[in-house]
């Protein structure tokens, strides 16, 4: 096991290096000139040259790359060009908000979609099943934007059940006041794709030979479904959750933008609009590393879920 973890960590290094290279060269060769961006529209050529020298942009490419790698290795992410806030601080202050919204969404998505999918696959081919498929197909064709716009309008604006936007400093207030509407909308939207996906998993399991064996032993359909099939279907379901986990950190930026939640997703969007390169670069590298670590943890924990897994 230790050998496996070490090997995985070792293998992460070239990937992180690749991400750093990608981010560095992408912004270097395709992005605008940072000196001009920082200088603003009214800067004189001398000012721009001065900024360029300050940023070290007049040095050769490989020196700049070396400096960048050094900053990555020492976790010195630099400062935002727009607000001059240290990026690491930015990251740590925005993350809680994102997690407060995203984690409940992730948990609720699974909890709600699972029984629906199970029930529908149990009654496969019935009217309920076919209706669900049609409804989900239509539901999936409507953009997430529409759901939020309409949802915000109806529930926040018209009915006044929830505040339209807002955030506070207390986690509890957030959870009870500001989080419910976005979470509700997000879970509602996620229902369609997740139910379809889980339904596929359940149907796949129902077609396996061990189901026939269970029936041959005289087990009731209920036991077959809830004990045999569910336990096996949890494997692809949890795999799916594991894959979705890294996405939690970027957050649904749309939700954060619509509901003015000061999370990481909204921060990235702001950075893009302001051409705030250090922020985007740093977050890209941060999250890539985080993704790989999470994947490793999920892979290791997977042995608990699927006894066939062999960690080599």
């Amino acid at each position: 096991m230790a050998a496996y973890i070490l090997r995985r960590l070792w293998q992460m290094i070239p990937t992180i290096l690749g991400v750093v290279l990608l981010v560095f060269f992408l912004f270097k060769y395709f992005g605008g000139d940072p000196a001009e961006i920082l200088g603003g529209l009214n800067a004189t050529p001398e000012q721009i040259a001065a900024i360029r020298q300050q940023l070290g942009l007049d040095k050769p490419v490989w020196v700049q790359l070396g400096l960048y790698l050094q900053s990555v290795a020492t976790f010195d992410w630099g400062k935002s060009w727009a607000t001059n806030e240290a990026v690491s601080h930015l990251f740590s202050s925005r993350l809680p908000a994102t997690l407060t919204v995203m984690l409940p969404i992730l948990v609720l998505e699974v909890i709600v979609a699972l029984p629906v999918a199970m029930w529908v696959s149990y009654r496969r081919g019935s009217l309920a099943d076919r209706t669900l498929m049609v409804v989900t197909t239509i539901a999936l064709s409507i953009s997430f934007l529409v759901y939020i716009i309409v949802g915000q309008y109806v529930f926040g604006f018209q009915l006044g059940w929830f505040p339209v936007q807002g955030w506070s400093d207390s986690t509890w207030t957030n959870l009870t006041t500001y989080v419910p509407l976005p979470v509700l909308l997000a879970v509602f939207v996620a229902l369609a794709p997740y139910t379809r996906l889980y339904r596929t998993f359940f149907l796949d399991e129902l077609g396996q030979d061990y189901v026939r064996t269970a029936r041959a032993k005289g087990m009731t359909e209920g036991r077959v479904m809830f004990s045999h099939v569910l336990r096996n279907a949890m494997i692809p379901i949890l795999t799916n959750v594991g894959l979705a986990l890294p996405g939690v950190f970027v957050g649904s930026f749309l939700i954060e933008v619509f509901f003015s939640i000061p999370g990481l997703g909204r921060e990235i969007l702001l950075a893009v609009n302001r051409s705030d390169y250090p922020v985007i670069q740093a977050i890209a590298v941060y999250l890539a590393a985080l993704t790989m670590v999470i994947n490793l943890i999920v892979d290791v924990l997977f042995k608990l879920v699927d006894p066939r897994v062999v960690l080599k």
């Binding site: 064709s141 985007i280 590393a289």
Partner: protein
């Protein structure tokens, strides 16, 4: 259950010498839902082509209606009260005694009539309503369809090309080539998808071509994974080994032998990509990171719709949502039917 069906002698469906595509077409024709959806999609494609040629919706930017003109069905908006000032009723008072311009009105009118004004009267209602600037929502919706569908399809084709070629090379050859491609894949996968799109958007800017490029470059990984898995699976299959045994070259084995056998998988995956990319483009355009200011897409329409909704003007939202919902639903249903027709065993892939 699986053993039992082996015993069954299938009815003589294999009497005709059909290739895969012909047999699939026959199955597809029998699926009513699929046929209807295909017709709808075809209608949309015709619409896109006609719009691209400029035969309809060319003047979508013209402000032909009053601001926020309601749809024709609802009738024109009642004249609003213009404030506290009450407009007195009755004919205008005669001021010609004190009006200094009074004697010149006849000349002014005569001179004015020589100039032709193109000040067309602004319509009170438009077929699907008007937006904030009085532009025809229906024209915008049609143009938006053209742009959004075009971007979605083109981006899907790009992502499919990249993913297929890389997947084929990685899956077939393995070894150092496979390792390098795996590294590339890992690098792209490690960065969360939306973040990658944003990073590309930050550097490449806005515009239709840019969006296609961004979505294509960010979205090839799923297809790569699948094509690679399929190539790896088929490389070990006996018909490929047999091809190697008779002396077929690597390129021949990859593209003449294996590729036709998985083209249906690629097609199904590509149709999923089309839907995904259309939705991504809508979101990007909504955020102002997608198509340029001079273009309209369903996303830009939704961006405007948000502020309109609060004022009670819902028609732009309805038009954009409606067009998008109909097209995407029809496309999804058609893609499902195509997948079922190609290989009933693929049903699990949805």
């Amino acid at each position: 259950m699986s053993t039992a069906s082996h015993d069954v002698v299938a009815p003589a469906a294999a009497q005709r010498s059909d290739g895969v595509w012909l047999a699939a077409w026959r199955r597809f024709k029998a699926d009513r839902v699929g046929l209807v959806s295909a017709c709808v999609v075809l209608a949309f494609i015709v619409l896109v082509a006609v719009s691209a040629l400029g035969w309809v919706a060319k003047g979508w930017q013209d402000e032909v209606g009053v601001a926020n003109a309601p749809p024709t069905l609802l009738g024109p908006r009642p004249a609003e009260a213009t404030g506290a000032i009450e407009v007195p009723k009755g004919p205008n008072a005669d001021l010609s005694a004190v009006d200094p311009l009074a004697p010149r009105y006849a000349d002014i009118d005569a001179a004015a009539s020589k100039y032709r004004t193109t000040d067309a009267a602004k319509a009170d209602t438009l077929p699907m309503g008007g937006d904030r600037l009085g532009r025809d929502v229906m024209s915008k919706a049609i143009k938006g369809t053209q742009i959004s569908v075009f971007v979605g399809v083109l981006a899907a084709v790009l992502a499919t090309l990249i993913g297929t070629v890389l997947g084929a090379l990685g899956g077939f050859f393995g070894g150092k080539v496979g390792d390098f491609l795996e590294w590339l894949y890992n690098v792209f996968e490690a960065i969360p998808g939306i973040l990658l799109i944003f990073a590309f958007a930050a550097v490449f800017g806005r515009g239709i071509g840019t969006v296609v490029l961004i979505l294509g470059l960010a979205g090839w990984t799923g297809l790569y994974r699948q094509v690679r898995a399929e190539f790896m699976k088929h490389s070990g299959r006996e018909y490929v080994r047999a091809a190697e045994a008779i002396g077929a070259s690597s390129t021949s084995r990859m593209f003449k032998h294996i590729l036709p056998n998985i083209s249906h998988v690629i097609l199904v995956r590509m149709s999923l990509l089309v839907v995904g990319f259309i939705k991504s483009e809508v979101i990007l355009s909504y955020l102002g990171l997608g198509v340029g200011v001079e273009d309209v897409s369903w996303g830009t329409m939704l961006a405007e719709a948000q502020s309109e909704l609060i004022l009670g003007y819902w028609w732009q939202l309805a038009a954009a949502t409606g067009f998008m919902a109909v097209f995407v639903t029809a496309f999804s249903l058609m893609a499902d039917a195509v997948r079922d027709a190609l290989d009933p065993k693929l049903r699990g892939l949805e």
